[in-house]
Every structure is written in structure tokens, then in C-alpha cells.
């Protein structure tokens, strides 16, 4: 699908935010993603997966059919994202999506805990906005706790976005340049200890970030028996479940050893993943 760049600007260092518009409405859920073909040539060849950072589903139609808008938040890590960073307003890019299974919203939740490391923050703003929209019980109105981790203060993104919707934001940086010195999973542990009186069944954790962090979060959640969803990141070719390239080992429940991150995920129940072999 051809999509038009509405805005593309650098936030800080290698972090960029792009706003895109496409014909038809984007009916996406937080945690889902698009695959972007950053150039019409064959180097780079494959599409690049990018999460929905913000979903603006129902923009007043200005042409027949109307259009959807969405934002992505991305970091330059190689040639694909480098090309993306050079796109200008009005440029066209080819997107495929929405793809994958996004976050889901367990019933009876009082407090939603969002935890993200580095660029893992990207899907979490859409998620927080959705939780806010759904209200109490389905993700807990008014009770969103956010933990953000990064190497240094410049890797802490979107703090203001979460605060704007009334979330309670906790920050950790490895060098201590912002928030607490250390990793955000430690903050989560401390918070859970401090709130030991809460019913764990009324909490729900949503996590996205580097694999080590996700594993630590999964450990915590499994230990404490808190519902926990993790958004995984694997190299992808097709994004649709066709190539079987993006698999992750799951605990062998239905005799399938591997699931596709692109189609069965990227969001998984933390308890489903075989963390030892990831």
C-alpha cells in the first residue's frame, strides 16, 4: 500500500518520528506493526518491520475513501533506517500492514504496567492510549504505571506522552543521567515489593525491549504470577507467516515447537516462550 510521509523529524541522536498517511482507514491494534519498503531498489531488499507508535484511526476524510494516519518511532541502526531518516514530507513509501497479533486486554485488571527499554518504547504509546480509551477493568483506567529504561537520558523517549495521559512514569538509566541509575527491571521489582499488598491478578504487565530485559520481566511475572505480555523482535522476511523465518521456540503445548513472531506474535504471553533457548 502506498503511504505518504506527512512528517519525519529527528527527536534526539539517532531517534526519529515519522507520521504517515494512507488511503483507507488503518484498523490497527497496539503491538501490531507494518513492514516498510524503504526504497524501490534491491539493496536493501527486504521490508523493515516497524510498530505502530500512535494510531490515528479516523481522520476526517479529505479524499474519497478517507485516510488513516499513524506514527512510527524509530532508531537508525543500519541502512534501512538510515534511508528512512532521509525521507521528506510528501515522499511515498510502500507499507504492508497492519500485521501480527497486538496486545490484548485481560478482564478485571486494575493496574496496567508498561515496561520498555530503548526503542522498545515505540509501541507503548499506542498501547497506553488504547488502555486509557478502554477504561477500567479492561486495562485499568487511571492506573497506568510506566517503567522506561535506557543507556543514558537521551535514550529515554516519550516520557511526556505518557505523563500527558496521566500515567505514572518511572525512569532508569544505566549511567544515572536521568531517573534512577540502573535498569528498569530493577525499578519494576522494587515497585512490586513496595506494592506487595496489591492483588497480583489485578495487574497486567506489557513489555517491549531488548531480549535480556524481556527475559528478566518474564521471570518476574512468572515468579509473581502476574499476567505478562512481551513483544518480541526477530529478523523478518515476509511478515505474514509465509516464510517461517522469524520463529521463536515455545513451550511445547500444542506440539508445535516454533511459532512465528510475525503472525503468532509479535506479542506473546510471557509464559509461552521457551526463554532458555531464545
Amino acid at each position: 500500500m502506498l503511504s505518504i510521509v506527512l512528517k519525519n523529524k529527528r527527536l534526539i541522536n539517532s531517534y526519529y518520528k515519522m507520521k504517515l498517511s494512507c488511503e483507507g482507514f488503518i484498523n490497527a491494534l497496539p503491538g501490531q506493526f507494518v513492514m516498510i519498503k524503504v526504497s524501490p531498489h534491491y539493496d536493501p531488499l527486504l521490508r523493515r518491520p516497524m510498530s505502530f507508535h500512535r494510531i490515528i484511526p479516523h481522520h476526517p476524510p479529505f479524499k474519497k475513501g478517507g485516510r488513516g494516519e499513524f506514527e512510527i518511532l524509530y532508531q537508525i541502526t543500519g541502512k534501512g533506517t538510515e534511508i528512512m531518516s532521509n525521507l521528506k514530507e510528501g515522499n511515498k513509501v510502500d507499507i504492508l500492514g497492519p500485521l501480527g497479533r497486538g496486545f490484548w486486554f485481560p478482564e478485571g485488571i486494575e493496574k496496567a504496567i508498561i515496561i520498555a527499554g530503548g526503542i522498545g518504547i515505540a509501541p507503548m504509546v499506542a498501547l497506553a492510549e488504547e488502555i486509557r480509551k478502554r477504561g477500567k477493568g479492561q486495562g485499568s483506567r487511571g492506573k497506568i504505571i510506566v517503567f522506561i529504561g535506557g543507556k543514558t537520558k537521551d535514550d529515554i523517549l516519550c516520557k511526556g506522552d505518557f505523563e500527558k495521559i496521566g500515567a505514572n512514569v518511572h525512569i532508569a538509566t544505566e549511567d544515572g543521567s536521568m531517573g534512577k541509575k540502573g535498569v528498569c527491571t530493577e525499578l519494576l521489582k522494587e515497585w512490586l515489593i513496595a506494592h506487595g499488598s496489591l492483588l497480583m491478578a489485578q495487574l497486567s504487565i506489557f513489555a517491549c525491549g531488548p531480549q535480556g530485559m524481556l527475559k528478566a520481566v518474564a521471570d518476574i511475572s512468572i515468579n509473581k504470577n502476574i499476567s505478562c505480555q512481551v513483544s518480541l523482535d526477530k529478523n523478518m522476511a515476509c511478515g505474514t507467516g509465509a516464510c517461517l523465518g522469524c520463529v521463536v521456540k515455545v513451550k511445547n503445548r500444542d506440539s508445535r515447537l516454533y511459532k512465528c513472531v510475525c503472525k503468532d506474535g509479535p506479542v506473546f504471553d510471557a509464559g509461552e516462550i521457551l526463554w532458555e533457548e531464545i
Partner: protein
């Protein structure tokens, strides 16, 4: 656009409405891409390679992008013939396109067993044997890199099926025409080529191979010149129809293969980049014929001027 242009081709006794198929392993079992492409428009679907029983495939990472290509080491993960026939074939039967089962085995017996099963499942229009697999019983030598093994496995399968039989060749050989001739003599109805080239990539930070399996198969535009050359060679040296595969991204690429001698083509990696690419290719073929006043696409097969 030109209704009177005949895009149909007959391969190994299968009538295809046009010469454009999707290659095995790049289109799942059809379902995955159904939302993105008009499956009724395709010449045929070659499904992901099937074995007798389900296989888990290789550990991840399984894919790496390379310059104008990609490496994969999926390791032939598949749901097995049984489950395919029960759960996937009914879906595919709903479409007006041909279904060709790509399959492989560890042994000659396994190949034959699958061929038999396919023969008794209505809705399967043809078979494509992937012989780029090691022969477990005889020292893990790949069937497709040895003309004797090729002959034996193809003859054995031939005896066990009346379905149109396509043999898919590995490009990782000194002389692909030798293997093609063995397959032809053993009773193949058509030859498809190429499967992926063997390749590798290394992460210089960890000094580990980028694929858990160390080695993978290279596909995509990078391999097109190699594929085209092999198709040309094989088409000149055997009488069977040849199906061209390897790096086809556009209708122009498809036409190159047909001019080189292919009667039809398969599109693989390109599906990942554009799920609707095959529709565009089919439209492009029609346009090309129109512009060149070609009445039937089959006329261009082997029309290379040297």
C-alpha cells in the same frame, strides 16, 4: 487489455492459465497471502515443501538479508503430508488455480510414500520433487548433486505416481545439465530450477554465523544471472519443459527466463517484498505480448537469438 492474448501454458500435462507460479517455501500454504493477492489469478501455487511427517526445521536465526538477496535456513519446517491434506488442501481447493505439492524425503522410500499419498488426494494437480536434500541412508550426500542418486530417486517416485512430476534441481553442481538429463531419463515430466545457492554470513562482533544452521540458501535478485544461465543450459540440453526460478522480481525478469528457454516461471523471494507481485507480473506479460504483437506467450519460450 488484450483479451485475445493467450497466456496459457501446459507443463507436464498441467494446464496453467498463465506461466506464473509461486515458488515453494515463499507462499506458505496459500492462506498466508490470501488477503494480499488474488489467488485465482495465479498459474499455480507450489506449496511449502512437505515431508511424510511434520518437521520442526532448524533453530533460529533462520534468515539474513544479504546484498540484493537473502539467506534462509528454514530447514524444511512443515506440517507433514497428512495435516496438509486434511487442513490446508480444502482451503486451496476453493481457488481456481493449480496446486502443486513440493515434497522431499530423507530416503527414497519416503519420497515414494509421499508421492503415493498425493496421488490419492483429489485437488493436487502435480508434484514437484525437491532433490536438494541429503540422503540419510547413503552418507548424507544430497540427492540432487549426484546424477546416479537423482536417477534412482526420480525413477522410484515415477513408479509410484501418475501425477505430473516436476523435478526441482539444485544449482550447487558442476554441470546441471547432467543432473537434468538423469531426471529426464528417470521419467520426470518437467524440470524446475534453480533452488537456492549455498551461502553464509558471519557476525563480526560475535564471530558467529548469522544463521544458527551456519549455512543457508541464497535467493533473490542476486542469484538471477546464475539461474538464468542454468535455465538456458538445461533448456538446450533436454526436451522436457523447464520452469525458471531465481530472483524473479518483475515481468521483465520472467520474460528473460522464458526467452532463455523456460515454459513457465516461479516467483519466490519477491512475494516477501510485494505479496501482489505475481499479479503485476501476469499483467506485465500480457502487456509485453501486446506491445510485441505476440499472440501466445508460449511463443517466446526459447526464442533467444544467439
Amino acid at each position: 487489455m488484450g483479451r485475445d492474448i493467450d497466456l496459457s501454458v501446459n507443463i507436464a500435462g498441467i494446464n496453467l492459465k498463465n506461466p506464473v507460479m509461486v515458488a515453494s517455501g515463499t507462499f506458505g500454504y496459500g492462506e498466508e497471502y490470501a488477503p494480499y493477492v488474488n489467488i485465482n489469478k495465479l498459474g499455480a501455487i507450489i506449496v511449502k515443501g512437505l515431508s511424510l511427517t511434520p518437521r520442526n526445521g532448524n533453530p533460529p536465526p533462520r534468515i539474513v538479508e544479504t546484498e540484493a538477496g537473502m539467506l534462509n535456513s528454514i530447514g524444511l519446517q512443515n506440517i507433514g503430508m497428512d495435516t496438509f491434506i486434511k487442513e490446508k488442501l480444502p482451503f486451496l481447493k476453493k481457488y481456481d488455480t493449480k496446486v502443486i505439492v513440493n515434497f522431499f524425503g530423507d530416503s527414497i522410500d519416503e519420497y515414494c510414500e509421499i508421492a503415493k499419498m498425493a496421488g490419492s488426494a483429489p485437488g493436487i494437480h502435480g508434484l514437484e520433487m525437491n532433490i536438494s536434500c541429503p540422503n540419510k541412508q547413503e552418507g548424507w550426500l544430497e540427492f540432487g548433486t549426484n546424477s546416479d542418486l537423482t536417477f534412482r530417486v526420480v525413477s522410484a517416485v515415477r513408479k509410484n505416481t501418475n501425477l505430473p512430476l516436476i523435478v526441482k534441481l539444485s544449482p550447487n553442481v558442476t554441470d546441471i545439465t547432467v543432473i537434468a538429463r538423469s531426471a529426464a531419463e528417470a521419467g520426470a515430466d518437467a524440470i524446475s530450477l534453480i533452488n537456492t545457492l549455498s551461502g553464509m554470513a558471519i557476525d563480526i562482533e560475535t564471530r558467529r554465523p548469522k544463521l544458527a544452521n551456519i549455512i543457508g540458501g541464497l535467493s533473490g535478485p542476486a542469484i538471477k544471472p546464475v539461474a538464468l544461465k542454468m535455465v538456458w543450459q538445461v533448456a538446450r540440453s533436454i526436451k522436457l519443459p523447464v520452469i525458471g526460478i531465481g530472483g524473479i522480481m518483475t515481468y521483465k525478469d520472467s520474460i528473460e527466463f522464458m526467452i532463455a528457454g523456460a515454459s513457465a516461471v516461479q516467483v519466490g523471494t519477491a512475494n516477501f517484498i510485494d505479496p501482489a507481485v505475481t499479479e503485476k507480473i501476469i499483467d506485465g506479460l500480457e502487456l509485453y505480448c501486446e506491445q510485441k504483437s505476440i499472440k501466445a506467450i508460449k511463443e517466446i519460450t526459447g526464442s533467444i537469438v544467439t
